[in-house]
């Protein structure tokens, strides 16, 4: 693990002003009517062995971002730098050596495993491909040994190598997905909602497995999730996304203790607490309303339509990401949980979007502000 900004040494992965716009076509000639701003100028870096949690509501662009990172989507702008090499525009053949280093695990283990292939074939496919690329002799027996070892690594019975995906439970299928990702010895695994489809008791098993694998194999993770309770257990840092932008980026524990962006606070407040007394005592102010249309995002701060602290500046000027002394960054004109001295020491983060305004926040949010 490195320092809070994750960029102390050369990072494993760096995103600079990454942008992914999807055209919206309409009419019989399919003319482009506008663009969905799925990921709009996002920058961050990931250190070797680090886990970055990526959190936000559906439609915030977290999955699109995850797919851009592993080049399942071609970003429309910005760059992805992996191990010091710009891989954003590499052609498929040139990209191949990097592909083995970046793997992805999908949300739905049912849909992401070929139902007609045996587990051995699914997990071994990457192995065989990689050996073919490297020109090594692809001995079937050797691959099988390796698959058995992988199955054992993820807590499955190696004797089940000839089973089909439907013969496993949901949690076990997700373990198969993890084994497949591990097969080619990646450095980075992008986990796209890896436990959202699983039951609570099984969720915990898979999260613990991911934790162990990271320690044993020195992996880096980008862990995408829609709520803040699971990512907390795996993340070193957490990025909160809203409508295509990163609104807050913080060391994991700080985010829960002192959320700076009102959206983060709202997300935290909306998570139900499994304790009736605390639940009754809590005054909740979950964000009202819904996500605005990403084709035509609100000007200024994108959260202003739902924010109880929003003022005129929020509706006109996009807030820059501001780095506070603790290493915690947030893009908000009216930050919460910061002192005046912290504000005085705050600097504009180099990760700020290019379109952000020049001015840093001058005063903390007014706690007396009434819900919008």
């Amino acid at each position: 693990m490195t320092g809070p900004d994750g960029a102390a040494s050369a990072p494993l992965l760096r995103l600079d002003h990454l942008q992914m716009l999807f055209p919206v076509r309409a009419g019989s000639f399919g003319r482009t009517q506008g663009h969905v701003h799925a990921v709009d100028d996002v920058s961050f870096s990931l250190a070797d062995g680090e886990t970055l949690g990526l959190v936000g509501e559906s439609g915030c662009g977290k999955t699109t971002l995850a797919r851009c990172v592993v080049r399942l989507l071609e970003p429309t702008g910005g760059t992805v730098t992996f191990r010091g090499h710009d891989v954003t525009r590499l052609r498929p053949r040139a990209l191949r050596p990097y592909r083995a280093d970046m793997q992805i695990v999908f949300q739905d283990p049912q849909a992401s495993l070929n139902p007609r292939k045996r587990v051995g074939q699914i997990v071994g496919a990457g192995l065989r491909l990689r050996d073919a690329v490297a020109g090594a002799p692809a001995g079937a027996g050797r691959a099988d040994d390796r698959v058995r070892w992988l199955l054992r690594q993820v807590g499955l019975n190696p004797e089940h190598i000839n089973r089909f995906p439907h013969e496993f439970s949901g949690g076990q299928r997700q373990r198969v997905g993890v084994a497949r990702a591990l097969a080619v010895e990646p450095r980075l695994i992008v986990l796209d909602e890896p436990v959202s489809a699983l039951d609570v008791s099984i969720q915990a098993q898979v999260v613990n497995l991911l934790d162990d694998l990271q320690d044993d194999l020195h992996l880096s993770y980008i862990f995408v999730a829609h709520d803040l309770s699971v990512v907390r257990h795996v993340s070193d840092r957490i990025a909160v996304m809203y409508l295509g932008k990163v609104v807050e980026l913080s060391p994991a524990e700080e985010l829960y203790a002192k959320p700076i962006h009102p959206y983060t606070q709202g997300l935290l407040g909306a998570i139900p607490i499994p304790d009736p007394n605390l639940s009754r005592a809590r005054t909740r102010r979950p964000p009202t309303g819904e996500l605005p249309n990403p084709v035509d995002p609100p000007p200024g701060c994108r959260y202003n339509t739902r924010c109880q602290f929003a003022t005129e500046i929020c509706r006109t000027v996009e807030p820059p990401l501001t780095r506070y002394p603790s290493g915690h960054e947030a893009a908000c004109h009216h930050p919460l949980n910061v002192t005046l001295s912290e504000l005085a020491e705050a600097v504009r983060s180099p990760l700020s979007p290019l379109s952000a305004g020049p001015d840093l926040p001058t005063a903390p949010a007014d706690p007396a502000a009434t819900p919008a």
Partner: protein
């Protein structure tokens, strides 16, 4: 005073399949009172949804077999005829589902769908029913209801669609609302809004709500009483506080222990329940939870009865052979309620790891 409107007694639901009989619901009993919110909590395959669907007669098929009684007033819903059931569905018992997109008809305007439901039970004109539908949409917090009633389901967001479902469910002022994972497909912020909506309606109309969920946080937020299900059986039921502060079944301990919390310090590892739920085709003999339970002993080979362990609280029932003192002592793991890792299993894993290391050594 509880005024019971629905009682389920020893409900059994089995499905004959090619591989054999699946006993999806095995001896489930609970009751729901007017204005009460009962939460049924359990993991996938626990039988919670089958229970709910059976109340509405939605599991009837040539391959299904039923036993027990489900009483709504003086009507037994298990033996009711199809025409009797049709009068109950939507009118006396309404249901909302997890996925509002598949529950709404995509080719009809939402207003029309609500009108259809109203006119199936009430003899009023189309115009009056339309006005009523618009009123309901306004009631559940849909902005510009006159306009939105003319929209199609795909023009709504997930949260708004669930509001439409609630409006439809309420259209005939039912006595009971069954909500099967109503917020599972929604974001947490929208979930909070929908739960608040259900709470308001309950206070306002006195509808009894049966909320089925896998999320203990949701339960803690809204439920009066809780039924915990595991592999087709009720393993524990009691008041909200009894389940959260005095849980008496090891499965409940495990469930409470494995929920990731945002309001507490993070543990080094998330506590888990070892193993996975049994197949209902070949359930274990005796207690269904025994194979995963670190506290199992000889008695667990027989099915424990659902009964009060604490003579002081007659309505707090559980299905476990352990004694009260044992339970209150063993449920604490490091000061919090949970299940300890199974000592036997870790020993097995260690032995496997040793054998594995030896095998690796030979290979290299």
């Amino acid at each position: 005073m509880r005024e019971e409107i629905l009682t389920v007694e020893h409900l059994q639901v089995g499905f004959r399949t090619e591989e054999g009989l699946v006993q999806a619901v095995d001896d489930v009993s609970f009751s729901l009172a007017k204005g009460e919110l009962v939460g049924i909590v359990g993991e996938s395959g626990s039988g919670k949804s089958v229970t709910a669907m059976t109340l509405m007669g939605l599991t009837r098929s040539p391959n299904a077999s039923f036993a027990g009684r489900v009483r709504l007033g003086d009507l037994d819903l298990l033996s009711a005829s199809d025409s009797e059931l049709r009068r109950v569905r939507g009118k006396r018992v309404a249901m909302i589902f997890q996925d509002p997109m598949t529950a709404l008809n995509p080719v009809h305007r939402v207003g029309e769908q609500i009108v259809e439901q109203i006119r199936a039970h009430e003899s009023i004109t189309k115009a009056a029913a339309w006005a009523w539908a618009v009123d309901l949409l306004r009631r559940v917090g849909i902005p510009r209801p006159e306009e939105r009633a003319r929209s199609y389901p795909h023009e709504f967001s997930g949260g708004m669609r669930q509001r439409v479902m609630i409006a439809m469910a309420l259209s005939c002022s039912p006595e009971i609302l069954i909500a099967d994972e109503p917020t599972t497909a929604l974001d947490v912020t929208i979930q909070a809004q929908i739960l608040a909506e259900i709470e308001d309606l309950r206070k306002e109309t006195g509808v009894g709500v049966l909320l089925i969920t896998h999320d203990l946080g949701v339960i803690a937020d809204v439920a009066d009483r809780v039924v915990v299900m595991y592999a087709g059986r009720v393993v524990e039921q009691g008041s909200l506080d009894e389940i959260f502060y005095d849980p008496l079944h090891p499965y409940t301990w495990g469930l409470l222990g494995s929920v990731p919390r945002v309001d507490k310090d993070r543990p080094g590892r998330l506590p888990t329940i070892g193993g996975s739920p049994p197949s209902l085709l070949h359930p274990p003999a005796g207690c269904h939870f025994a194979p995963r339970c670190p506290w199992r002993f000889e008695a667990c080979g027989e099915v424990p009865p659902l009964q009060p362990t604490d003579p002081g609280s007659r309505h707090h029932l559980d299905r476990c052979w352990l004694g009260l003192e044992d339970k209150r002592e063993r449920r604490l793991v490091g000061g919090a309620i949970g299940l300890p890792a199974r000592p036997a299993a870790s020993a097995v894993a260690a032995a496997e790891a040793a054998a594995e290391a030896a095998a690796e050594g030979e290979r290299s």
